[in-house]
Symmetry: C2
Subunit: 209 residues, 2 copies
């Protein structure tokens, strides 16, 4: 029986809803529909920060995500991807972090395939240096598709403090591709920075395919 | 620098977004509007469980909460209230727990004032016994107002595992009241079961007044 006179002794067993995960299409609930996200065509990036393990860019933008208003806060890069799809890794995954008025977090993750050099990525590479807090003027040109496909599930931040209650949209049909040269640049400047995939436990994954 | 080769050593500093809290109207963001919740007029309660520290009732019902579909899972009682409003405690607080397709949790908390005996509460009292899992057929008649007023913020479960990422709607204008006799019955059968209020930290509270 729960002892309300010894509340400091209560167990705090957080940690069963962690990210990233393997997005297993077999166990996902399938929808012939798009992910419910509509965003500004351009997010404006204003600061570029060397986080040692990754590049982080702060900026502005608005999105409506599953019918709620969110504002874009920052984006950063993971190589290779943190999420896997049926065990398969992408060379690059971009996290666009959004929050709303009460502090809920939605991370829009973009799974990037190899292909042509992307101009926005190249601008970020070109502006990169070791200064902590560099002003930039770069926009993300339609990184989030107007008809987005992919996955929706509940997890956590993938870096400490690993806070849970984070909602994930993992987008699989973005137009962004990364070239061999761009990837080589990332790997030269950063080591691998993908957290291992975490157990799904009893969570449900939605797949908008 | 974050060591991706020693991920087990990462700090996991969860615990800054806990519930309940004191709902301080001075620091709340004020809206001349209703809380965005519309629910079935009646939730159907099907099982009544003696949890030792409280009564828990399982059942069925649907709600649209800040534009997303949720289903009612269970309700239970805290006496006195867990949330406080400008430091003031209510004699009873009812938690209606809702979840959605990806496992997000919204708790609709009803702050109950003293007044007339409520018939639904009396049905719950009348059916109460010590059996673990008693079938009942009780409905909650418009416990959630069609034009709900109150607070909206991000917190946690108030009992272990104290999971965070829980969205709270604390309703202050429900028609339910609890009589002195009903309160006396609760206090005879249960000890106080309110978790202490937790620090707000940098969280924002919305007040729909």
């Amino acid at each position: 029986m729960l002892n309300y006179d010894n509340q400091n002794g209560w167990p705090n067993q957080l940690g069963n809803y962690q990210s990233p995960i393997d997005l297993n299409t077999e166990v996902s609930t399938k929808y012939d529909d798009n992910l419910a996200i509509s965003s500004d065509m351009y997010y404006q990036l204003t600061q570029e920060i060397n986080d040692s393990t990754t590049i982080r860019l702060l900026g502005h933008g608005n999105a409506t995500i599953f019918n709620r208003k969110f504002t874009f806060q920052q984006l950063h890069f993971h190589l290779p991807s943190e999420h896997t799809i049926d065990g398969k890794t992408n060379p690059l995954e971009i996290h666009l972090v959004h929050t709303n008025a009460i502090g809920q977090t939605v991370v829009v993750a973009i799974m990037v395939n190899k292909g042509n050099s992307n101009a926005d990525l190249q601008a970020i590479i070109n502006h990169f240096n070791n200064k902590e807090d560099q002003s930039v003027n770069i926009s993300t040109n339609q990184w989030i598709p107007s008809l987005a496909k992919g996955f929706h599930y509940l997890g956590s931040l993938t870096t400490p403090p690993l806070t849970e209650g984070v909602e994930w949209l993992v987008i699989t049909n973005s137009q962004i591709t990364v070239s061999d040269n761009q990837l080589a640049w990332f790997h030269k400047n950063f080591t691998h920075n993908n957290r291992k995939t975490q157990p799904l436990f009893e969570r449900k994954i939605e797949w908008y395919k």
